[in-house]
Symmetry: C2
Subunit: 351 residues, 2 copies
Amino acid sequence: GKDYRIATIPGDGIGVDVTVEACKVLDRAAALHGFGLKWTEFDWSCERFTETGAMMPEDGVAQLSAFDGIFLGAVGFPGVADHVSLWGLLIPLRRAFAQYVNLRPVRLLPGTTSALAGRSADELEMVIVRENSEGEYSELGGRHNKGQPGEFVLQESVFTRVGVERIIRYAFELARTRVGRVCSATKSNGLIHSMPYWDEIFAEISAEYPDVHSEQCHVDALAARMVQQPERLDVVVASNLFGDILSDLAAAVTGGLGMAPSGNINPPGEYPSMFEAVHGSAPDIAGQGIANPVAQVLAGAMMLEHLGETACAQAVRDAVEQVLAEGSVATPDLGGKSTTAELGDAVAAAL
Amino acid sequence: GKDYRIATIPGDGIGVDVTVEACKVLDRAAALHGFGLKWTEFDWSCERFTETGAMMPEDGVAQLSAFDGIFLGAVGFPGVADHVSLWGLLIPLRRAFAQYVNLRPVRLLPGTTSALAGRSADELEMVIVRENSEGEYSELGGRHNKGQPGEFVLQESVFTRVGVERIIRYAFELARTRVGRVCSATKSNGLIHSMPYWDEIFAEISAEYPDVHSEQCHVDALAARMVQQPERLDVVVASNLFGDILSDLAAAVTGGLGMAPSGNINPPGEYPSMFEAVHGSAPDIAGQGIANPVAQVLAGAMMLEHLGETACAQAVRDAVEQVLAEGSVATPDLGGKSTTAELGDAVAAAL
Ligand SMILES: CC(C)[C@H](C(=O)O)[C@@H](O)C(=O)O
Ligand SMILES: CC(C)[C@H](C(=O)O)[C@@H](O)C(=O)O
């Protein structure tokens, strides 16, 4: 069968713990489906930063560009400023490879309970389509009058027509493959330049999709809705910052951050896409063997899907659900006492 | 007894419905406590905008400046762009009167149930201290290359040392009167200019309060925490945008938006402070007599507290709790069939 070349960057903290389990599961799934995953591991991390002054080598992007996919654990560690670790690896990769879609499906899996009262699994299934290349995460800005009483800092957000159109169009296309509903997160009553522009483009594109139900909601009200009426949401399209907040929140109202995968996707396929968990490196629990590997395994399933290995992706998701539903192997966040490796083994065995 | 001069701006939609009930309750409470509230009503609203082209007269700020307090319903109505209605009244008033604190206490009231599973009232009590005068809500920015393929929009955030220091200091002072815990909402890993600056000032000021436990949390993780571990939060200090999102979310995890009051406070007392509900004008249910007036009544209690009428404020809160606990008079959002006026009457009668 075919061999896919995958770059794996375990990174820091529990990124390392969960990636090793996910690779084990994916390898076995691939073998059972008659193809191979050829992993090349990169030790790019905060440890590397501490030793060399850089999260990745200067030609890091070039090194990754020939791969079929990138499988990322998580980066970030105490002592290395977040804006160094993240802006030295995660953000530049998202941008260099035009991974302008950050796709974050969430749903309540069997055997897990929602933080919300009285909600069933079918009410808690949605996908956050987060803009991943521009918006609020911008390098423009800086400090003025340093050390003076009138000191201030500016931080610029940048919304381009190209950037906003492509993410909103992606959301509508995705909605057509689901239940045909898109909700756009806005805040045009507070952010009077960027968000009215976002809304204007949303209105233009929704007119191209008369078959899809579209609505918009201010991000504050939308956050409340995720808690009070999540059943009315399916595809939620949001800017970089809003998508970041809403996807953590959506994960929390479903099975928790231990269960939420994420794909950084370059839709045209010109560049490799990158798959990771929504959660971070969680240094406080790193190396203890207690991290939940499910989010990373499900990120792996998203990668398989993206590679076109749909049946294999489904098999991985089924194996996860089977183990969770059975319930005897569960990490502490799921109320059990199993280790990261035991849960990884159980999922691999369930394939 | 003393007479307080209060400017009331019912505004639009359910703002009108709930303000009339709240004034009724406050009048009775004041009478019982031996002082008076002299209301002057201002018809500033979207209706006024439609007729005159302005939400308020040019000398609106001057007209309000001699009052002891401002009691605002809500503004906003379909057909009038939000950035017109809000930026023509709410935001300019917050700024003209240096109401740099937006104080948003939330707690689970008796007789109401949380959207969260298995949480008791004492786990669900916190206060959002939202910066209310600068930050992400800025007039700076605009559209470039209009109509060209390279069209883009910039939106500036502005964080001044003065602005950040005073809100964070307010939060620490408030924490001293409560359980001595402050959590700062940040996002310094994504917003690399504004939020590292916020964090730096937070660290400086927390060093002045060694008796207060301080921590910071990225806003995405904090949103998740509000759902998964709300019991560990008490005072949450946040920028304008983050405070907006987190306070709607906090309201949703406690009794819902129908219960959440808000004070726009000028701490030195040089200018009048302004009290309103967290919820908006909800045009879809306006004028039907079904809006829950509790948030507006509790905003009134915050105003009484601010005026120094602590016992009266407490009496209003007690009356609300008594009616909610008793449960026979409840608006639809609370699972009942009572009208806005019936709930207002019941609270007034319970005083
Ligand atoms: C209406 C809007 C501008 C306002 C805000 O975001 O400040 C509202 O949501 C609030 O929370 O008071
Ligand atoms: C670590 C951080 C920069 C990142 C983000 O906000 O993009 C993370 O929270 C995520 O959601 O992938």
